[in-house]
């Protein structure tokens, strides 16, 4: 079955969506990601959607759900690289995704995750990458 890979970078999880999201794939990602967060005790999740061209209300809601679930599991979620067309579509659909942090690109998204992790005093785990 088709899956979206979830990469681990220390305390953070990195998800890059490079295929067209369909409903089943989104739900699989939701399952995999929550399982992985709980498994590794991740403090942050970065979802890169810069290659995502088409979005509908279901995908939008799944993204919001993933962010809420991650927060329950004590991980910050940041969505990066949203295309202008996707942003306009989501706004027109009335989905402003209020709970989700966003960033322009992976770099500033990672910076944000580091900052929040540092604020909670958890960053030493990441720096000791060797674990």
């Amino acid at each position: 079955m088709e899956r979206i890979p979830i990469l681990r970078m220390g305390n953070f999880l990195l998800v890059t969506i490079q295929v067209d999201m369909h409903d089943k794939l989104a739900l699989t990602l939701q399952d995999d990601l929550t399982a992985k967060i709980a498994d590794v005790g991740a403090k942050g999740v970065l979802i890169d959607i810069s290659s995502l061209e088409i979005v509908d209300s279901f995908i939008g809601r799944t993204l919001a759900n993933i962010a809420s679930m991650a927060r329950v599991l004590d991980a910050q979620t940041v969505v990066v690289g949203m295309q202008p067309a996707v942003a306009i579509t989501l706004v027109e659909l009335g989905m402003s995704l209020p709970g989700i942090r966003t960033a322009l690109n992976v770099e500033s998204g990672m910076q944000y995750l580091h900052e929040t992790a540092r604020a909670y005093g958890d960053s030493e785990d990441y720096d000791g990458d060797s674990e």
Binding site: M82, P84, A87, L90, N105
Partner: protein
């Protein structure tokens, strides 16, 4: 074609004088057109009228014989639309031709009331059709002016300027409607992607009124920018507009708002970890540095 026009051909000068008298009687816009130009326009029209073949029918303006005359009137009225004449003034220009033509008809057929009546009715109909055609072209010309201005406004209204590395500004001028919001939103988001900007300042100093619809459009743009990972600052809110926003119950609590563009710029600089300081007078490093370059 009525017999009158045979006479007109012979007595073009007389008709022209009579016509100009009529135009001057009705016209009040000497500031827009001088007498010499008016005369040359009138004589052009008269020549075009006389150049039509003698057997051309007065009843149908759509035949080929009248095409040069129609084209001339169309171009005249289009230029008048640009100059700022009113439709009635433009129509009057053509309608004033009736009086001299009627007087010629009376000179010819004054004895025979039936023939005079038929002649005058034919001329009357013909000149009316010409006047209607002129008014149509006038309005068409004015429509074109309006369309062109709308296009220009749409282009003018959406410049996204880069204030600093990572900070873009969008100075909005004029009322926001749905079509403009779409253009504004697209160009702002595109600029955010291209310049990799974390901050976008929307300045509404030039927006005359903010009602619920405009506010909704602004909020949409701000939300879309936030979704892409850029922070939006709304600036240039005048006191009256602040009052209107509160009276209308528009919720701008989630949006950073500043009174002036400079305040918004300062905040964006601070948030991106920069400060602006004044160079000490003694050191003058800026000036000397510039000279060395």
């Amino acid at each position: 074609m009525a017999k009158v026009f045979d006479v007109v051909r012979k007595k073009q000068d007389v008709v022209l004088d009579g016509w100009l008298q009529g135009i001057k009687g009705g016209i009040r816009r000497r500031d827009l057109i001088d007498e010499r130009e008016l005369k040359s326009q009138a004589s052009e029209v008269l020549s075009a009228l006389c150049a039509a073949p003698p057997d051309a029918s007065l009843e149908d303006l759509n035949i080929a014989a009248w095409q040069p005359l129609k084209d001339l009137l169309a171009s005249l009225s289009a230029s008048r639309a640009v100059q700022g004449f009113t439709p009635s003034e433009t129509a009057l220009f053509v309608l004033s031709l009736k009086a001299p033509l009627f007087s010629i008809a009376r000179d010819q057929k004054g004895e025979n009331a039936d023939q005079l009546y038929a002649e005058i009715t034919a001329i009357d109909d013909f000149v009316d059709k010409l006047a209607l055609h002129t008014t149509d072209s006038f309005i068409h010309g004015r429509d074109q002016v309006i369309v062109r201005q709308q296009e220009e406004m749409l282009e003018l209204s959406t410049p996204v300027v880069t204030l600093w590395d990572g900070i873009v500004a969008l100075p909005l001028i004029g009322t926001l409607d749905s079509a403009r919001t779409q253009v504004v939103m697209e160009s702002l988001l595109q600029a955010i992607v291209q310049t990799n900007s974390r901050f976008a300042i929307i300045d509404i100093t030039g927006v005359p009124t903010v009602d619920t619809l405009v506010a909704q459009h602004l909020l949409k743009t701000i939300t879309a920018a936030r979704l892409m990972g850029a922070e939006c600052i709304l600036s240039g809110i005048r006191p009256q507009i602040a009052q209107t926003i509160v009276h209308l119950g528009i919720n701008l609590e989630d949006v950073i708002t500043k009174a002036k563009l400079s305040d918004a710029f300062k905040l964006a600089l601070e948030r991106s970890g920069r400060t602006v300081t004044r160079v000490a007078k003694g050191s003058a490093s800026v000036l000397s540095g510039a000279r060395e370059l």
